[in-house]
Structure formats: structure tokens, C-alpha cells
Symmetry: C2
Subunit: 308 residues, 2 copies
Amino acid sequence: MDAIDDANQLRETPKNEVISFFESAPLLKDAAEIEKSLKEFVDRNTSSSGNLNGKANRVVCIASGGTTVPLEKQCVRYIDNFSSGHRGAASTEYFLKAGYSVVFLYRRGSCQPFCSSLPDDPLLECFSVADDSSIEVAEGILLKLPFTTIFEYLQILQLISVSLRDVGPSAIFFLAAAVSDFYIPWESMALHKIQSASGPLDIRLAQVPKMLSVLRNEWAPMAFHISFKLETDTDILLAKATMALKKYKMHMVIANELSTRKEEVIVVTEQEKVTVRRDCTRAGAEVESPLVELVVDRHSTYIKKFDA
Amino acid sequence: MDAIDDANQLRETPKNEVISFFESAPLLKDAAEIEKSLKEFVDRNTSSSGNLNGKANRVVCIASGGTTVPLEKQCVRYIDNFSSGHRGAASTEYFLKAGYSVVFLYRRGSCQPFCSSLPDDPLLECFSVADDSSIEVAEGILLKLPFTTIFEYLQILQLISVSLRDVGPSAIFFLAAAVSDFYIPWESMALHKIQSASGPLDIRLAQVPKMLSVLRNEWAPMAFHISFKLETDTDILLAKATMALKKYKMHMVIANELSTRKEEVIVVTEQEKVTVRRDCTRAGAEVESPLVELVVDRHSTYIKKFDA
């Protein structure tokens, strides 16, 4: 990577790119309802007596599953990012056990907490793809918010970050979702199904503005930020994780390689690189268990700095 | 549409395009197992005493759900074609009731016959995306074969058509799957995840060869062929359906518009255009019920021509 590239990598996300992304995005349905649920959730879990789950005011926003990029406004075709959502669903369980309240921002149809151990029943494949915008609250400490497209995902993430602002350093953003890097701006998108009559199809995809730095610097500047780096090529994985740490000023980047991601991850911070492995001696043990344990520990240290 | 376009539309699918598609496709896993299941299924259901379901030797291959197009060999991103698979799953039930045996070629995770009335339970969303290549046979008259990519879909469709050849005019191909029109040839595909560092992404997608005409003319020349046309633009729907009927020498094209597809479809044949509507007077009535009834009637007429 040469100097020019590096400089390019480290520049801030241009404001006009961000503005133009949101301006051109289709309006979020149920934005008012989502805001209301978030407000109630935060009020309930950050009272002076601590949250309903016992841990004083700690909240984590877990983003999970892949975002889609529609190729047509009346969408028949779309680019999808593969993600079962297993990492986010399992991590949700461990954060709840650790006393956090959780905002679970998930792709419709992806894995849910507390049902990863269901049998592989073919009946389970018959899920509804209907656009249920149902917002579910489980026992007051888990708020589930679904998304499908990159437009929905980023708009809801912004709503969450604003609603968690008062939580300050007690909030974690645990961004395990597979977010599209490229998209077709809404205004340049075909209205109807693209016709296949004539020859090859050339698609120009614009880069999705790097919202991580906007989230980190503007939307939730006090929170503890964790992003993920998934690659299939191990040779570039750690370099890319370290670069993401610097570029977006993340507090932690969790690097994982596609083929071994259920066995181990590498936690990269400014101070350390720690490989976290699942406990092979216990049947059914998941890598998310020691991972969340480590995150909670580093988050505690982070909070103490503000208390001092 | 001008004359040049029309001529282009009516030409046969070039052999070299077909050969190059299959040669460049990744090898189908379990091809031998699929062939064996198909052979047993056909033997069982086309004996001299009729099939297990009572109707003499009638078999329908129902293709259901959308195919994906990987953008990377170690696939993280892919283009998907939206389809819940509801049409195919519901039609499977009505064909079974009508005495047909059914080969159900379906997208993993899409709707299954006999479970569309399940409650909208959030637990059901937690299905496994694992690559179970499980081949299921229900009571001997339903063979379920799963696919994910366009490469798998077309290879399995070819295996089915070969295995149904001896069934002759008693076989129906009911092609309700949403098949990708464009793809990235395997040999020109990126091995690893496409990097997002530098500027917009230009993708050139090749046209998927029009396999409908290959299926119709070469793979299963005696069968009764039904294809589907889905559009979001009603203005072009009937014209495109009629053109598909001629171009691919289909026996029937079922035209449906995205927003009304659960209420009505238009059945287009050389002789007629029939609008089929669901029975609004019965709660839970589906358009697939009168649709399959009409198909069975026209298929009976088709078979009689061969008997005469």
C-alpha cells in the first residue's frame, strides 16, 4: 500500500457523501415508532437504580446479519451480503448474561438469540419473508429492531446512536453486521425490473460512505466502539483490521477469517492482539462466550477512565 | 420493439453459450446421489400400475424460489432474485392433490409445501443456512431437491429433465423459480472478497444463456412446458409473456404482476388468455388452486393428442 493510498484511507468521510446518502435514501417506515421504543428502552434500563438486568446502565447495540442493496426500486433483484447472523445472536445471549441490556439490530430472517440450538427441522425453513416491522421487547432488557436494506440499517443505527447518547461510555456498539460496501443511489436506480433483452449488463456501484467514522465521531462520540473485519484471505486480514482500528478510531476490531470464524477470532486494540478461541473441551461451547467476556473486561476499564 | 430486436429475440440459444456456461460452472456436489434419487422416484411413480398417487404416470417438476449469482468464489456477496417460493410450494400441494407425483426443485430456505399455514412465530426465523444437501422424499410421491446458486439450479434441472425423458408428454415442467438473468462467469470471478478501498465498483454481468429453449427443444422435447413471467410494469407484462410463449415454444406462460400476484395471474397459451383469480368468497383460498386445476385440464388435452 503506497503513501497516496494510505492518506486516502485515513481521511475523514466527506460530509457531502453522508448527506447525499441519507437524502437519497427511501424514508424509513416506522421511524417514530422505533424512536419511541428506543426512548422507553433507554429510560427503563438507565435509571438511577441500574437497569433491569442488574448491571448499572450498561447497554450494547449489537448489529447482526447482512444488509441488502436493491438493484431496482420495486425490488426484484438485490445484492446480498452473506451472514447467518449467528455471531450477533450468540453474542446477544452472552451480553444479557453479563448484565447488559441489548438493542439487537438484525436482518429479517437471520439468527435470533436463544434459538440457535433448535433442531434442524425442515419446517423451520418455512419462515415468512413478510415485511413485519414488528419491534419486540423481551422482558424489558432486549429490544429487537429488524432491517433488510442498507438504507434501513444505517437510518436505524443513527436513531439508536442518538438515543444512547446520554448513556455515554456505558454504551457499546458491537457492529457484527455484514454491511454492503457498494450501493446504487436511490435516484439513479431503475424503477422497474431490469430487462434482460440485450447483451451484458454493466452496473456501476457507488461506495457506501464509511459511516463507522460518522458513528464514532459524531453520532456516539463517548461510546465504546467495536467493529468486525471479515476476510477470506488471511494474508491481508490483520493488516486490514489494524488499519480499520486507526482509520475509524475504533476501540476494538475483531478480525475473523471466513473458514475459521466459529473457532477463533483475533481481538485487535491499540495495546494488544489477542486470539480468542472457543473452549474445545466443552461440547457446544462457542467462541462468543470468551469473546464477550474479554469485551466486557475491556469495556469496564474504558468506563473507569471516565469515572476517574 | 423493432425488427432487429425481434429477430434477435427469436433466434435459438447459441450452443457455445450453453457449453461455456456449464463448462465454467463449479461442479455439482452430490450429482450421483441426485441422479439415483431421481431414478428411484421415476421408477416408483411410472410403473405399469400407475404412480403411488393414483394418476397414471403424471409427474410435474416444480421449480421454486430465486437463484443466486455469487460475486466471489469464496462467496460473501451475491446477487439474489427475490422470491419467497410461495407459488411453487402452494402449487406442489395442489398437484399432489390432483394425483401427480412432484419433483420440487427449491431454493434453500424458501417456502415448503404443507407449511405455509404455520403461525408467524419468530422462532421460525431462526432457520439454518447450512449447506444441507439433504434430499427428501415424502411418502414416495414428492422428491425435494434444494439449490442455492444459478449454477446448481441449471445443473439439477438438466438432471431432472433427463430422468423424466421416458415419461414423455405425461411430464410437466412448471418453472416458477425466479432465475437470474445475469451472472459472472466462474472463471472471471474474484477468488476473494472484493476490496472496497478505491472508488466505485464496475461490474460486468454476462447474460445467462436462455436455458428455457434448451430444456424445451433438447432436454425434454415431449414434456408440457410452463414458464412464468413476473414484471412490475403491467404495460409490458402481456407482451413479454406472449413473446416468451413464441420464443421458447412454451405450451403455457403464466403472467403475473408483482403487486397482484397473490390475487390473480393470466394464463397465456397459443389459443387463449385466461385470467385466473383466487376465490375471494372462501377465507384462505389461494390463486394456485384454480391455476393448477386449469393446468391439469390443459395437460390432459395435451396428453390425449399423443394417445390419438
